[in-house]
């Protein structure tokens, strides 16, 4: 990924720092911003959408938010806010595992 022909590198070094995979919760969340996710609530309700943002309370903003029941979309919510206390887990749908 060294697209720097002239070899003047500090900018690229910072970029690599940013994309380096981190595995603690905050690192994971920053890694999956913008990606498709599945959010499951404690009540069992499942939402799928693109992760727009998350905060320290695990409050979540989803774009293209769909509510899914038994594998079928039952609501198209569009942009949605999910209050963090209800969240059971956030799953990165396209994550590559076994690194």
């Amino acid at each position: 990924m060294s697209g720097n022909v002239n070899g003047s590198g500090p900018v690229l070094a910072d970029f690599n720092q940013a994309v380096r995979p981190t595995s603690d919760p905050s690192g994971f969340l920053s890694e999956i911003l913008g990606a498709p996710v599945t959010v499951k609530l404690n009540s069992g309700i499942v939402f799928k959408g693109d992760l727009q943002s998350v905060d320290g309370y695990m409050n979540i903003a989803l774009e293209r938010c769909r509510e899914v029941l038994n594998g079928k979309v039952i609501h198209n919510w569009g942009d949605a806010f999910i209050r963090g206390n209800n969240v059971s887990y956030v799953c990165a749908d396209n994550a590559i595992t076994g690194r």
Partner: protein, 89 residues
């Protein structure tokens, strides 16, 4: 008293990178590889199986599990061990 006391969060830290079994408050369970956690015991897990007594098992590639409803974490567990199994040993 042993001098080599292991704090609870140190036990979790020892499990980073290995397979764990998480039991939630409602009886639901998760197994997978622990990648990381924070002070709230929110966990990042990889190659996860969500074990729900009602809905059955679901495979999930990579999740952030909310620590709020975690009841217990068993190192090395794969969710197949039962109390009855252990009693027979």
């Amino acid at each position: 008293m042993s001098l080599e006391q292991l704090l609870p969060l140190e036990l979790i830290d020892k499990c980073v990178g290995s397979q764990i079994w998480v039991i939630m408050n409602g009886g639901k369970e998760f197994t997978g590889k622990l990648l990381g956690f924070d002070d709230y015991v929110n966990m990042v897990l990889e190659d996860v199986t969500e074990i729900d007594p009602v809905e059955g098992n679901v495979k999930l590639p990579k999740i952030l599990l909310n620590g709020n409803n975690i009841c217990m974490m068993v190192p090395g567990g794969d969710g197949t061990s039962t109390f009855e199994d252990d009693m027979e040993e």
